[in-house]
């Protein structure tokens, strides 16, 4: 009991600290590994306590991820990386739409993944980086009895607004790289607008499906 309370307090303090650093980027910054650990533990804790989410309320879970996790992701960087060369062919408006739709899709994917793993033990690896590094990989492992641990690697870069995630690798599979072939295929066949349409349709269909239990 006290352990959870302390953890909750710590996460709250950490969240406050994160918020505090945003306006003054030069002040004490949360190191990337601490950031990942703090946010992950907080979210896992919130999921564990929420009866509605445990009962399969996806909308609420997505909302939670949106509020707690997403501020730490750099979605335009993720979209650019996933698009590869297609990104430079898109105009500003298209870039904005692409980023929005990709963001919506990733939130859902991430929410499902987190819900699936939230009851497993997590092992936060110490950061192997120099203090001067601006591009690091934060490693977390999901431990499971009788199976090899699943590594989750967050690629993060330092920005004026603190550390931001620009790719997540699960079991050696880069989420961003995995979308590249798909995106390129669609762009080749039906252009940038085709991809936007495609992503929008995908998100719509998931919105409908999200209401049922998992």
């Amino acid at each position: 009991m006290t352990a959870t309370r302390i953890r909750r307090l710590a996460s709250a303090a950490l969240a406050a600290a994160v918020l505090a650093t945003v306006p003054l980027a030069h002040a004490q910054e949360v190191p990337p590994d601490q950031l990942v650990k703090g946010v992950t533990l907080e979210v896992v804790d919130l999921i564990a306590k929420d009866k509605e989410i445990k009962a399969g309320n996806r909308a609420k879970l997505v909302q939670l991820i949106d509020a707690k996790v997403l501020p730490h992701f750099n979605f335009s960087a993720m979209t650019a990386l996933a698009m590869g060369q297609g990104w430079n062919k898109a105009n500003a408006e298209q870039k904005k739409r692409l980023t929005e739709e990709f963001r919506t899709l990733l939130v859902r994917t991430y929410a499902s993944a987190l819900a699936a793993y939230s009851e497993q033990k997590l092992d936060f690896r110490p950061l192997r980086a120099r203090p001067s590094d601006t591009d690091v990989t934060v490693q977390v492992r999901v431990l499971q009895s009788g199976a090899q641990p699943v590594p989750i690697d967050y690629s993060m870069e330092k920005t004026a607004a603190g550390w931001k995630v620009y790719d997540v690798m699960v079991g050696g599979v880069s989420l961003v790289a995995n979308y590249r072939t798909e995106f390129n295929n669609v762009v080749r066949e039906s252009g940038i607008d085709g991809l936007i349409k495609n992503l929008t349709a995908k998100n719509r269909s998931l919105e409908g499906a999200g209401l049922e239990k998992k």
Binding site: S76, A77, A80, L81, G84, Q85, W87, N88, L105, R108, T109, S112, A113, A116, S145, G146, A147, Q148, P149, P151, E157, Y166, G171, G172, V173, S174, A177, N178, Y179, R180, T181, E182, N185, V186, N198, L199, K202, L206, A209, K214
Partner: protein, 241 residues
């Protein structure tokens, strides 16, 4: 009979091997998509419902024992593969796992070795060939078994041939054990397949790319060298935007 089917299948492969404008890693895409569709039907009709029921009916405590049991049977061969890849420390650790889990862990039902600091590894013959420098060859979907490539397909053949379950007699017991093992495997993948369903625009492409990335990572034990990306050399400044 089996051999005949295999020969016919190779014939189809050869016939398909020649058309342009496809992913260079997947020259047999039309055939693969066909097998993928077939596998998907089998999965929807049999494997997934059975695995879902298994997950619902059997308590997680028992499912963990089952996973441990089959995981333990696999450890000696994982050790052999580590030895063949020159990773002697890992190989010894795998054999120590088998020794401790089989005895103290009651025939592998309990994974005591992990608590003792001997971590479970993931190795197979496909990875060993990869470590030796064998290229993956074209991507390949195996009937029933799913994503593979030519290298891993050969590896899987040896994995199955060398599997200790093959020694179990009488046969109906052996088949029973295989069924439980596959059910367990499929049940463990239920979440992943649901996520795939949600995440992918084209499930086939998404799964293929994930498989190739995953295997590459496994061959290098999670630390693959950075891949050259000929199409895209402007990652850095894109990221800055």
């Amino acid at each position: 009979m089996c051999r005949l089917l295999f020969a016919a299948w190779l014939g189809i492969l050869a016939g398909c091997a020649s058309t342009g404008d496809r992913d260079p890693r997947d020259p047999w895409e039309p055939l693969n998509r066909g097998i993928y569709k077939f596998n998907d039907k089998v999965d929807t009709a049999v494997a997934r419902p059975v695995a879902t029921a298994y997950q619902k009916v059997v308590p997680s405590e028992i499912r963990e024992r089952v996973r441990n049991f089959f995981g333990n049977l696999a450890d000696p061969l994982i050790g052999v593969n580590n030895f063949m890849q020159g990773k002697f420390e890992d190989g010894v650790s795998d054999w120590a796992r088998f020794a401790f889990n089989t005895t103290i862990g009651l025939f592998g039902l309990h994974d005591v070795a992990t608590d003792m600091g001997y971590e479970k590894h993931n190795e197979d013959f496909g990875q060993t060939f990869g470590r030796w420098g064998a290229p993956t060859g074209p991507y390949l979907i195996l009937p029933f078994l799913g994503s593979s490539d030519v290298r891993d397909g050969v590896g899987t053949g040896i994995d199955v041939y060398a599997d200790p379950l093959g020694e179990v007699r009488p046969y109906h017991l052996q088949y029973g054990l295989w069924s439980v093992r596959f059910t367990q495997l499929r049940a463990d993948l239920l979440d992943a397949s649901r996520i795939l369903e949600e995440a992918a625009l084209d499930k086939y492409v998404f799964q293929r790319d994930a498989y190739l990335q995953r295997r590459r990572s496994l061959v290098y034990d999670g630390r693959p060298p950075r891949e050259k990306e000929p199409e895209d050399d402007s990652d850095k400044d894109q990221k800055a935007r």
